[in-house]
């Protein structure tokens, strides 16, 4: 299983999904209307490393984090 966490202002409980890459996650989340805007402006990290391609492979035990737009300071 892959754990999906939604950080900061995204008000969504974590998910546990049986998926093998980020494209599969994209398809699942795109069906959730409340997530659509977040998907266009959020960065994605796998095991706390930022990822630039949706082709990224996932394995059992991975943690995927969605990071919406930031503003520190």
């Amino acid at each position: 299983m892959v754990r999906i966490e939604f950080l900061g202002p995204i008000q969504k409980e974590p998910l546990e999904l049986q998926i093998t890459n980020l494209n599969e996650l994209a398809k699942i989340l795109q069906d959730d209307k409340e997530m659509q805007e977040w998907l266009t402006n959020s960065a994605v990290a796998v095991n706390d490393t930022l990822i630039c391609s949706s082709n990224h492979e996932l394995k059992d035990g991975d943690k995927v984090s969605l990071l919406p737009p930031v503003c520190g300071g």
Binding site: P9, Q36, L39, S42, V44, D48, L67, V70, C71, G72
Partner: protein
Amino acid sequence: MLYLYDGALNVPNILKDWYEQEEKNNYGAFIPFVGTVRSEDEIDGLSFDLYEPILKSWFKAWQKKAEKKSAIIKMAHSRGDVMLHESSYIAAVFSPKRRAALEFINEFVEDFKASAPIWKYDLRNGNRIYAIDRSTAIKGSGILGDKK
């Protein structure tokens, strides 16, 4: 070093500690930047969420950049609520030379604003409202968005 605190920063104490940590280490320049919550748009204060694992790795990468310039960098940030005229952010560079330190603190704070995984909320009439208009999408965002 990266220092995270619950609530407002104690600016005089933090700056004093940092100064005393480095005063004998032969740095010619100590350049602090202190961010203070201003009264604007009728806010009562700001509030912050942090994601520590990526914040720490982001900061570590900047520590390595500083090392290459024989400089060091320190940063303090609040989590939770920080009210008007309190401070939520301090960054400082210690460097052998003034010019390098001024350039470095500017680059560091710009990247901090664009990349550090921290989320800001306005506190207004008891509500905590995500400051999306002042937020920046991290580089590479949107890979899960619909590409049709």
